[in-house]
Amino acid sequence: MNEIILTNNSKVNDKYKSKFEIEFIEKSGYLNILFEARNMIYQGYRLLTHPMSSSLKPNQTKFRSIILQKNQNNLDTESILMIERAIESAEKFLKFKKTPDWDEKILDDFRTVDMSIIEGVLNRISFFIN
């Protein structure tokens, strides 16, 4: 399987680690996940999901899950442009307001929403091959 889930959401990791390849970076923030996605794209991955999924703003939620795929044709320009725009946008929000230090209950809500978004995709991802 060529797909990999890049995430800092423990819920996603717990639920899917047996079924999918997961790059779980626990201590990473929202922006760092975007940076990591970008590094992977430069190493030949492409985005399968939108890096800015959900209406939760980058300075609100800490959690981010992105599905990427090993790209046979090297560098995927669309993915680069998309991740760069996502990073730019995230930096715009974080510049004015840092993500608050949420209590555990709220963090858990964020994890739930993030996982829900990625679940909708994972349910369909086996439908295609590369």
Partner: protein, 366 residues
Amino acid sequence: MDTTNLQQKDIKRGETKMKKIKVVHYINNFFAGVGGEEMAHIEPEIKPGVIGPGISLQNYLGDEYEVVATAICGDSYFGENLSDAKSKIIDMIKIYEPDLFIAGPAFNAGRYGVACGAIAKAVQDELGIPSITGMYIENPGVDMYRKDIYIVETAISAADMRNALPKISNLAKKLANNEEILSPIEDGYIERGIRVNYFHEKRGSDRAVDMLLKKMAGDEYITEYPMPVFDRVKPSMAIKDITKSKIAVVTSGGIVPQGNPDKIESSSATKYGVYSIKDMSTMKPEDFMTIHGGYDRAFVLKNPNLVVPLDVLRDMEKNGEIGELANYFISTTGTGTSTGNAKKFGEDLSKMLIEDKVDAVILTST
């Protein structure tokens, strides 16, 4: 309502009669009557009272304002000694305790425009007083400073002085009185690219239908949000004779001296470095390395000329195919460097390139 306003105005007038609003004006050596290009190197100085266009500016500002001093600096001096010039001028201006600062107008004079923008922004930031200047829309100073200060739009040349000064004084007065600044068209300044909310008389869907009908009919319509990404720069004029030109290499490929002395980040760079290639004929792998985070670095580590093509350029210089190669290259990493940072780098290093009289740039990216 009208009466109250009038009364308030009267009160204000009464106060200002006793104490005029103090203005410092900034002009270059040319407008100060101190020679032309040959004197553009003169250092900053400040003189009490009005000089050159300041005389007419004072008239437009009226009795409630007094241009207490005029700061003068040569454009070359300012450009070549940016931070030094800025701090010297600020120190000079400070003494006069101004309430308002006006620079220029610079019309289409590029270096003058950049100086007016830079000093107006510095005064505004450091002295905390309203600052304003005027320029032609294509002056490079416009794009560098439009988001920071109010720049009144002028025509291309100083022949427009008699139109420009009243516009500048009107907006300057509004700023000094802390009045509400209206839209760019209403108040005559160049749009700063700041998105401001207002209530339209029609709701959005209604406006969308209007716009669609116009678009389908081929009539003119104005989008409410111009796409910013496609902000393009007009291509610069081609080089007439490359064999007489000075060329500099800029790279976003992350080539740095061994050890990365400036600690440039391998991605999302926040800085750039300037590195000497003086007396070098090729990029030796023992001297340079790449810090670029995004790709297989083996080839470039072995031969940095793959990103900074010094070997070829030196040969070309020797053969007279190019005039001269700048004795440094400028380097950063392009991977994920934010548009904002990239723009800032560009602004900074373009100043340096101008100072160094570079005619053309080869920018390499991986």
